[in-house]
């Protein structure tokens, strides 16, 4: 019985989040963003630029990594997110270079860092296809990502919906991710580093 209630609660939470994200997706009356490419905000918000460090105490567990650092550059419609995961003396970096003027961006990635505990890997010479958009007057970066993961049963397509939300004061960056393969959303809270 407890298990059933837990499953129902999880499902309800997931559906609420999806409805919430759907509301944000391309039909935000406050920003006037309709989702039409011609009306898209293409200029990146320069306030995203800078170095950010994960607040692990406010975030979903990121183990086996101990922390995550973001180094973000913006230039016109282009945003570069350099994401470095570290544990002890080990660190690995992946670069997300996205142009919001493009319908899609292909980001080559060698190793899938999003969950190193599970037997899922990116195929060779692959990466993530990402559509990036600015929402909420440029306060939110939305990323819709699709890619393929290899498991021991073969290849499986995966979708991920991601938002990076900048706080009003500009010193906190909150990342929310819903992945089609995962039943729990992921929350990362970053603080700006001087």
């Amino acid at each position: 019985m407890r298990k059933t209630i837990r499953i129902l609660l999880s499902a309800a939470a997931g559906i609420s989040l999806l409805i919430f994200f759907a509301g944000c997706d391309g039909n935000d009356s406050d920003t006037g963003n309709t989702g039409n490419t011609s009306n898209r905000i293409t200029q990146a918000n320069p306030n995203f630029a800078g170095k950010w460090e994960l607040r692990t105490d406010l975030s979903t567990a990121v183990d086996p990594w101990r922390t995550i650092r973001l180094d973000i550059d913006v230039d016109g419609s282009v945003i570069d997110i350099e994401k470095t995961v570290t544990t002890g003396r080990r660190n690995t970096t992946e670069n997300y270079r996205m142009d919001t003027a493009n319908e899609e961006n292909f980001v080559p990635i060698a190793v899938w860092l999003d969950n190193r505990h599970i037997g899922a890997f990116l195929p060779h010479n692959s990466g993530k296809t990402i559509r990036a958009d600015w929402l909420d007057d440029g306060q939110t970066l939305k990323m819709e990502s699709s890619y393929t993961l290899e498991t021991h049963q073969g290849e499986t397509p995966v979708r991920a919906y991601i938002e990076y939300r900048l706080s009003r004061g500009g010193d906190r960056l909150t990342m929310l991710e819903i992945r089609s393969s995962r039943n729990r959303p992921i929350l990362h809270v970053y603080e700006r580093q001087q």
Binding site: D63, N91, A120, R184
Partner: protein, 558 residues
């Protein structure tokens, strides 16, 4: 009856002595168990494992243990509750209950020295300002039967009439590690045992030493060091390679690497590339005592098999989960709550069948029906990585491993390879040619396990699967994220049956893991590993995959 008992003991001894004569390496059963009528001593060993704390006293006691046990097994230490190896108290109770040993408790270092100090011929002083001199002192102790003291313990040594034979204080100031070990090798390497070497690694920039294996190094007359396996440490690597080259083939490397110098992956890769056998850790206690106590008469290791070797089990369309705890049994959850609640596989370190037979017997006799034993080592007869092992060493090493399998009634072989990566980066996979060799070397196993973290080498030949871990259950992973991880795997692997193999990191208790698994969907069934493998062997939902040239490689530089 008594004559039968004596005969069996005699045969055991003859076989052990023959083994010793054959390769001059096995000290197991070196003492006649019929003569265990001499006094045996035990003592609580304390805290203070930092160079700048009380390690001087502990180092002295470790050297005393090695020297005293050279004569016969007579000094056993009980380690602190938080020591990484959890079984010193349980094993003492085992010795008392199963062997009838009546240990005499020693209450202080002074009493220990008064009682057993006569086994030392003098003392050597190590320099607290240069911690490597402790390794030199341990080496010297094994070669010349001297007690190891720092300046704070000289008076204790002299109080029992010992005289100084060497004083390292001030001799090595300002020297690099390579320079110090070069001098050590000039002085001691030629006389050191060529069947074994000991690595005394450390933590926290080497401030914390846990040299519990020192007693065994002294017992065997081994060279003790912490030379780096990091290619950037060129000078140390030259000496490190010289030791590995000059050891006898397939020698024993005991202890552990230094975290401040290199990585586990680098160290074991280098050791394996010479075909030597690693047995960890530097913190492993009481081996000079344990190795001399055989199995009790008549004991045979019996595994809890749930299926016959030639039995065929057809899987249903569901998720099968099986759990393995490696990292050696004495470290992990064996002593923690919940064992026996769910099926679990454990890896008794194969080398312990002669390094610590009583521990192996203790594990076996305290097993529940849900405890299943696998693999007498990792990749070979100890801890090794197969990719760097030269093929001329591979086959004799696997013969040795098979002998352990027979002794310990094991039917599952486990492999791990961190030579091109680890659970964070690179790969942990094997090329097809190496998988071929394992199938050839172990025709009687019911399955192979690969990995440490999740890996992706998979095969299935005549119903014998080769399966990599699909999940690494880490120490600090929150339970709700573990459940989400496992559900994610079940969504990514949509065909049924799906075989989800989990590696549980050492100190997660079985009760904790069982409580997590209880929240999974009902369609997932936790099964014993032998049933898991037998059913996987009949499934067509596992894709064959081997290491490919395009897979990521990382030589563990950090």
């Amino acid at each position: 009856m008594k004559s039968l008992f004596s005969l069996s003991l005699s045969l055991m001894l003859i076989s052990a002595v023959s083994a010793m004569a054959g390769n001059n390496r096995s000290y197991a059963y070196a003492y006649d168990p019929e003569e265990f009528d001499f006094p045996m001593y035990s003592m609580e060993i304390g805290e203070g494992w930092y160079i700048d704390e009380d390690i001087g006293e502990i180092a002295m006691l470790l050297s005393l243990q090695g020297l005293a046990n050279k004569e016969r097994p007579q000094l056993y230490y009980v380690y602190p509750e938080d020591w990484i190896w959890k079984i010193t108290r349980s094993l003492k109770a085992f010795y008392e209950n199963r062997w009838g040993f009546d240990f005499i408790e020693l209450s202080s270092p002074e009493e220990a020295l008064e009682t057993l100090g006569h086994h030392a011929t003098g003392y050597v002083v190590w320099d607290k300002d240069e911690r490597l001199t402790l390794m030199l002192a341990f080496t010297r102790a094994g070669l010349d039967n001297v007690l190891v003291v720092d300046e704070d313990n000289i008076s204790r040594a002299e109080a029992i009439g010992l005289e100084m034979v060497e004083d390292y204080r001030g001799q090595f100031n300002g020297m690099t590690d390579a320079e110090i070990f070069e001098i050590a090798m000039d002085r001691y390497w030629e006389r050191s045992n060529k069947d074994i070497a000991v690595w005394q690694g450390g933590f926290f920039h080497s401030r914390r030493m846990e040299p519990a294996i020192a007693d065994y190094g002294i017992f065997r007359g081994a060279f003790q060091t912490d030379l780096s396996a990091n290619p950037e440490d060129v000078e140390e690597m030259i000496l490190h390679r010289r030791i590995l080259e000059e050891l006898n083939p397939r020698s024993l490397i005991m202890g552990w690497h230094s975290y401040s110098k290199d990585t586990e992956g680098q160290h074991v890769s280098l050791t394996s590339s010479y075909g030597h056998i690693m047995e960890g850790l530097n913190s492993l206690p009481n081996i000079s005592f344990n190795t001399q106590i055989p199995f009790t008469p008549g004991f045979e290791f019996r595994n809890n098999h749930n299926v016959e070797p030639d039995e065929i089990l057809i899987p249903e369309e569901k998720v099968y989960i099986s759990l393995i705890q490696t990292d050696s049994m004495g470290i992990g959850a064996w002593e923690l709550e919940g064992r026996g609640e769910i099926p679990y596989a454990w890896q008794p370190t194969g080398g312990w069948s002669w390094l610590s037979p009583a521990a192996v017997q203790y594990f076996n006799e305290s097993a529940t029906p849900n405890d299943y034993f696998i693999a007498g080592g990792l990749s070979g007869p100890g801890y090794m990585y197969p990719k760097p092992i030269p093929e001329e060493h591979f086959w004799p090493l696997m013969e040795k491993t098979k002998a352990r399998h027979e002794l310990l009634d094991l039917r599952v072989m486990e492999i791990m390879d961190y030579s091109e990566g680890n659970r964070h980066v690179g790969n942990q996979d094997l090329p097809e040619e190496l998988v071929d060799r394992y199938y050839q070397a172990f025709p009687d196993v019911i399955g192979f396990i690969n990995g440490y973290g999740a890996a992706r080498t998979f095969d299935n030949r005549d119903g014998v699967p080769f399966i990599s871990y699909d999940y690494y259950l880490g120490l600090g992973r929150p339970p709700e994220e573990v459940v989400a991880d496992l559900e994610e795997l079940m969504r990514l692997n949509q065909k049924r049956p799906y075989f989800l193999l989990i590696h549980v990191r050492e100190s997660q208790s079985v009760g904790h893991v069982a409580s997590i698994l209880n929240t999974l969907p009902d369609a997932a069934e936790v099964v014993p590993l032998d049933i898991f493998l037998k059913k996987a062997g009949q499934a067509d939902t596992i894709q064959r995959r081997f290491l490919s040239e395009d897979d990521p490689v990382d030589y563990n530089p950090y």
